[in-house]
Structure formats: C-alpha cells, structure tokens
Symmetry: C2
Subunit: 221 residues, 2 copies
C-alpha cells in the first residue's frame, strides 16, 4: 500500500471511530508533521476525504471533519435502505457455509468489542459486517458505494447517534446469518430493511430547535 493510502486510512479510521469528532479542524501543518511528510501529501489525502464527504474544505479556511446535515444523515441511511436489501437476492445465490462461518466470526468480534467497551473496534466491526456482505453480492461498483455509505453512517452516528445507535443493533446481525443459512431470501431482505430503519430512527435530530432553544434559554434567564 502506498504511503498516501496509509495516511488516508489512518485519518479515515480516526474519523469513523469518533476519535476526530464532527467539526474537528484538520490543519495541514499539524498533520504533515504528525505523519512526517510534506503538506503536499496531506493535501492530497484531505481532498480525497472531502470528495467522499468525510471532511469539508472551505477555501482558505482548511479542512474539518464533516458535520453532516440532518438531510445528509437521513439520505445516507435511506440510500442504504434502498440498496442493501436489494443486494440480498444476489448475495443469497453466492451464500455458502464458508461465508456463514466467516460472518459469524465477524459478529463474534462485534460482541467481543461491545463486551470490552471498545467502541472504536465495535464501530469498525459493525460497518465491516455490512460492506463485506455487500461485496459478496458480486457487483464491485455497488459494493464500493455501500462501503462508503457504511463509513458515512458511522460519521452520521457520531453526529446524531446515541449510545444505543452503536450498540443496540449488534446482537441482531446473527439473526440475518440465520435467515441466509435458511435460504429465506424474503425474510432476510425484510430483516435488512427493518434493521436499517431501526438505526435511522435511533438518530436524534435536534433540528433548528437546538439554536432556538439556546436563544430562548438566554432570554428566559
């Protein structure tokens, strides 16, 4: 893997795992000295992250971790709701015992991370379950998009999620594997749709109220 790619992965990991919260500034100087490369390489990485909506770059003001709007948050989840259940059908055709065991291991990793209170690992494992699943459906273009949506979902949860957003759904993933093992495509599709809906509705969108409430509190005090 190229050096740029390694830096990209590290920063993305930090964002997705909520180490770098939404709104955090990412000055090129600090990053370049932290990674031991010149600003040139850092800029390249930041621009990539910006295209993928993990950071936003304002002209002459630099990069900061994206704080997705409520619209964006919902659209990311809606996109997954539209795509991922659809992938189940072609996924089911490739399903076999090896996959079943592999994904049970992934679920086990999730449980372990949850038990250890290791939220970063848990977030990664949860996202990975979804996009690894997407990959075996056989369409690399869609799989790449789903992978991006999964990571963006992690960022959405960082912005709007509660503790339950990340942990509540973990036990569930094993249920999907059961359905796939039973070759019950219909139910598996429905499960996936419900699962993503659950995550979507676990988001707390404070809307504009947050700012209004601040004003009101200022006036009332």
């Amino acid at each position: 893997m190229s050096n740029d790619e390694k830096i990209y992965q590290k920063i993305l990991k930090a964002i997705v795992e909520h180490q770098l919260p939404p709104g955090a500034r990412l000055p090129e100087d600090r990053l370049s000295e932290a990674f031991g490369v010149s600003r040139t390489g850092i800029r390249k990485v930041l621009q990539r992250l910006a295209l993928e909506h993990f950071v936003v770059i304002a002209r002459n003001k630099g990069a900061q971790v994206n704080h997705p709007s409520e619209d964006e948050a919902l659209e990311v989840l809606d996109s997954r709701i539209l795509i991922e259940p659809q992938l189940i059908a072609s996924l089911q055709r490739h399903w076999n015992k090896e996959y079943s065991e592999y994904f049970r291991d992934l679920v086990e990793d999730e449980h372990q991370a949850e038990h250890d209170g290791d939220m970063a690992t848990q977030i990664q494992a949860t996202a990975r379950f979804h996009y690894e699943l997407a990959k075996i459906a056989g369409n690399g273009v869609l799989a790449a998009f789903v992978e991006q949506l999964c990571y963006r979902s992690s960022l959405v949860i960082a912005a709007y999620g509660t503790r339950s957003s990340v942990s509540c759904d973990c036990g569930d993933h094993a249920q999907l594997i059961e359905l796939l093992d039973q070759n019950d495509t219909q139910k598996a599709q429905q499960w996936m749709a419900d699962h993503l809906q659950t995550i979507k509705h676990s988001l707390v969108l404070e809307s504009q109220e947050e700012q209004l409430i601040d004003f009101q509190r200022l006036f009332s005090e």
Copy 2:
C-alpha cells in the same frame, strides 16, 4: 465556480463526450500549459477523476482515460438497473406539470442533437435526462451517485458501445414522461428497467476473444 472545478468539468466533458477516448494519455505538462496553470492544479483534478474512475493513474506512469473492464462496464449498468427504477416511486410523488415540461424540453434537445449529428451534445443530453430525473426523487446522496453512474455509462459506451448505443434509445425517453404524466408508477419502473437493460445488451463485449481473433487474423494473412 473555482478554477479547479472549471478544469475538472472541461476534462470530464471531453472524456464523456468521447473526445478523449479510453486509453488516451493525459500528461500533466501538456494539460498544465493547455490550461495555463501549474502541474499542482492539474494533479488535483486528475486525482479526483481517478477516484471517480474516469481516469486511471499508474505510479510514475501518469494518468490515462480509463478503459473500463467488461466487469466494470456491466456493473455500472447493473447498478443503475438496481437503483434508477427504485427512484421512480419517490420521483412520482414530486412529479408535476413543470417537471413534465422541463423534461420534454430535455428530450427535444436530444432529438435536435441527434438530428444535427452532434454526438457530443447528444451524449450529454441523454445522461442529463437520467440524472436530472434522479435528482427530483429527493435523495441528494443517491442522486450524486446516479449522476456519476450516468457519466461512467458514457465512458462505458465509448469503450464498448455501438452507434446504436447512443442513438437508439433517444426517442424512448418521451415514453417515460408519458407514463409519469399518467401516474402509472408501476409501468414507469418497468420501463426504466427495460430501458437500461436495452442499453446494457447493446454493448459488445469482445471479451478475451478480441486478442485471440487478432492473433488468428495475423496468422491467416
């Protein structure tokens, strides 16, 4: 629009309109003098185009217009087949007379370009019909992905399309508007799926045979 963005648009346009064919090399020096900026700005644009799969960059060998593999070509179309019909449902809810007229104008542009033999304009108009339609479904994240898939489709057609790939489907678009005007969501979805299938099957995938045939021809002559 920033200067970078303008350069990006121009190069993308040239690729999508088949002015820069798949495989064409894009040396940074030539581009930088052509656009009157330093290589820095060009590199930024090329790297963006690479992330979006319009060009491929090989280390120390530079950028060239992507020549999509057959797998990639099919996956791009399959992705559209999975997504675009699904968008019809939410699209239909926003449909109104203004949209109807707007899209009839777009179709008229397609016809005009076809009549004038202006393939570049025709390609743009055809892609635009699809992604403008996707936009009014109300999900910006998905719409952006569909837009990218439409442009990638143009590149796929540059690589594997016949003349009929670009022109045969033009008259059709008006039919979809009819169905939307009649509020016949079911048929509109089916139409979209069939339409994209038609495009997919109009591709000629020479597969590995091309190379073999070349050898055979060399021997037989």
